[in-house]
């Protein structure tokens, strides 16, 4: 089975949720947080492998802009066309992204603001971690 965590950018909430899925932990330390694969790496449409969970499910992340529903429909139909016999679950993590993310991501490119922006990104995760963990656990039970 495959689980694809996706959101508009696919480089914040999705990799964090995928990481929480793959790692049995509640807290992610600041240093570890910034080592999460694909964090802040914008690459729309590409499905990127994060790892295998304890049950052997493969976990992926993807950025979809506003085309999540389109993409899901197309990929599910492709499975029929190519006779792909597998279970794929798409998990929308957009609720854990925030407004102005794109702007802040751009600001992060500037050395002067980088530190402050990263502190904000990590702080935002700390604020949402409880909900995120619950959210991921819900899907892990389904899987």
């Amino acid at each position: 089975m495959k689980a694809i965590y996706y959101s508009f950018y696919g480089c914040y909430s999705s990799p964090i949720c995928a990481y929480l899925h793959l790692n049995e932990k509640f807290d992610i330390g600041e240093e570890e947080f910034f080592k999460i694969p694909f964090l802040f790496q914008v690459d729309y449409g590409n499905i990127k492998y994060m790892g295998k969970d304890g049950c052997g499910n493969e976990i992926f992340v993807m950025g979809v802009k506003n085309f999540g529903e389109n993409i899901k429909r197309t990929l599910k139909d492709l499975m029929k066309v190519f006779d792909i016999d597998d279970d794929v679950i798409f998990i929308d993590t957009s609720q854990y992204d925030f407004k102005f993310f794109g702007f802040l991501l751009g600001l992060r490119e500037n050395k002067i603001f980088r530190n402050a922006v990263e502190k904000f990104f990590y702080g935002y995760y700390l604020q949402k971690r409880k909900h995120m963990k619950k959210f991921v656990e819900k899907y892990k039970r389904i899987l």
Binding site: G45, I47, N66, N70, T74, V81
Partner: protein, 154 residues
């Protein structure tokens, strides 16, 4: 091989290109209004169906031809298709996604908005056909290029 013609809403340009590809429309002349209007899925797809793959038929090489709508996310959806199939070991040699939207002009776009988005079918549909007929050469060129590419691959 699977060939997917992609456009905004899988209602106009992808339908026409796929129809030329499978021989439902001619390449040596401009078709009639009636020929266009009677194509399967022509100006029919609803908003909720955008993203659905519709089977159009088989070409002379035995390739299966489909159409799909991707709104303004054609690049992203194309990447997602290749990326997803790659997970299952299906290479880019087995699927070809073709963006058919550049073949149409502003007339078909206006007609499409009137018919599909605003629901004024009686006005929008004829405008889309008029636009298609005006740019029909573009579609023939697009499909010819794709078929040349397919011959080279095989």
């Amino acid at each position: 091989m699977v060939i997917i013609y992609m456009c905004y809403g899988s209602a106009h340009s992808s339908v026409v290109a796929a129809s030329i590809h499978i021989g439902l429309l001619p390449t040596d002349r401009v078709p009639s209004f009636r020929e266009i209007i009677s194509l399967p899925y022509y100006d029919k797809t609803s908003n909720e169906e955008i993203g659905t793959l519709f089977y159009m038929g088989k070409d002379e090489f035995g390739n299966e031809v489909y159409i799909v709508g991707a709104r303004n996310g054609r690049d992203i959806v194309t990447k997602a298709i290749y990326s997803f199939l790659n997970l299952y070991g299906i290479s880019e040699k087995e699927v070809l996604v073709v963006d058919a939207l550049p073949a149409i002009g502003i007339t078909t776009k206006i007609g499409g908005i009137a018919s599909r988005r605003l629901g004024i079918i009686s006005l929008g549909r004829p405008i889309t056909v008029y636009g298609i007929l005006k740019r029909y050469k573009n579609f023939v060129e697009l499909v010819t290029a794709i078929k040349t590419k397919l011959q080279k691959i095989s």
